[in-house]
Amino acid sequence: MRIWDQFVEYLSDPATWTGPGSFWTRLYDHVWVSVTATIIGFLLVFPLALYLGHIRRGSQAATAVVNIGRAIPSFGILAIAFLIIVEVGIGGVRTPWSVLIALIALAAPPIFTNTIAGIQSVQPATIEAARGMGLTEREVLMDIELPMAMPLLMEGVRIAFVQVIATATLGALVAWGGLGRYIIDGFAVRDNGEILFGALAVGLLAIVAEAAFSKIQRAVTPKGLKVVR
């Protein structure tokens, strides 16, 4: 099959693996931008979400954020970020900044919403018992609500991270690197081998990230929440 041949050809081409446009560079770029965006997104919304969740005010905001976030296409967010970066003059083409900003905007909503949902999932009786025993509001939040919110919270971070990895692929459309580069370049020169290579690389990365995160999720869930009578 022609496609398979092209693919094998691409794999065996040394230029794929070394030099400036090498696989390792692109993989690294892709991962670091995803990780950084997720972390920054987390830091931006986590404190506010904790607070809103604790005072039981946030659910409307959380729902609104999810709905709005879903209606705006990730490609659109990337494009707007690009527009802003170019206009502001930080340098648009070939730099990661527009990608980074877009990804932060993408990572924040799931983390925000799930943190609020997680905190609010704690039973009122448990919180009343905690307050009745003399825990300060801060202690109630940090020692009781937060640990118990872990499963939902981690789920939010996982959703955010995987979404970010997926959208980082589109970064190639703003002339950045990352693994999406293979796909876009492949389309341009009709090299099916390159296209396939890129698709497999990104696909595998996303799947590995998802699986790894499931493991992390399980690890940080307090033991007491996992047992069943």
């Binding site: 707007i80 527009l83 170019v86 497999l200 990104v202």
Partner: protein, 222 residues
């Protein structure tokens, strides 16, 4: 306010919008058809798969695992995987877009059916409903709101993903976004983004309305 409008004037060349109105309308159709066909086929497939799941429960894990896998693969990658085989065509787009709807729809349909209170089913049985009548008269109507919620999510998500098909020559409004990016012509870019959001919101509202119509008993709640 004037400041914003003033800048909007700079960013958006309204003359361009007027000139290209017919293209905008064409792209609207493209966007709508790609969304509609994908969600439609996705719904049919999901209903079929749900029937399988309801009959043989153990398949649920495998089916959600597989559709989940499809969902995890980034859209651009999925298009890329299909292009060598189905080319730069609407077929490629629809196959990929449909795949993305499967996980959401199946999960929601199953959740809707499962969400019918056991007490209701038992009462229906006790009154003499046949299993089939119970399914169609009790379970399906009660499950509909959740199912429509799933269709809502799938639709809005698909509207967003259609923009990415610009890379394989389609794109609906995504066409304008890509063009705008490549030519640094902000008007096109903004028009593309804004129209996507508007379309997604309109469809969302229509479906919310549908959800409400189908569940008059839930109107008291938020």
């Amino acid at each position: 306010m004037n400041l914003v409008l003033g800048q909007a004037d700079q960013l958006i060349d309204w003359a361009w919008v007027e000139r290209n109105m017919s293209q905008i309308i064409d792209r609207t159709w493209e966007h709508l058809t790609l969304t509609g066909v994908s969600v439609g086929i996705g719904l049919v497939l999901s209903i079929a798969l749900t029937v399988v799941v309801l009959r043989w429960r153990w398949t649920y894990a495998a089916i959600t695992g597989f559709t989940g896998l499809l969902y995890t693969i980034p859209s651009l990658a999925l298009f890329a995987l299909l292009v060598p085989f189905t080319g730069l065509s609407a077929t490629t787009a629809i196959i990929a877009l449909t795949s993305y709807t499967l996980l959401i729809l199946i999960r929601n349909i199953v959740a809707g059916i499962d969400g019918v209170p056991a007490a209701v089913k038992e009462a229906a049985d006790g009154m003499g409903y046949t299993p089939r009548a119970r399914f169609w008269r009790m379970e399906v109507p009660l499950a509909l709101p959740v199912i429509v919620a799933g269709i809502r999510i799938a639709t809005v998500t698909t509207v967003g993903l259609v923009t990415v098909t610009a890379v394989i020559g389609l794109g609906g409004y995504g066409f304008f976004i890509l063009r705008g990016l490549n030519t640094f012509f902000w008007t096109q870019l903004i028009v593309g983004v804004v129209l996507s959001v508007v379309l997604a919101t309109i469809l969302d509202l229509i479906l919310i309305g549908l959800q409400r119509v189908l569940s008059p008993w839930a109107r008291g709640k938020v």
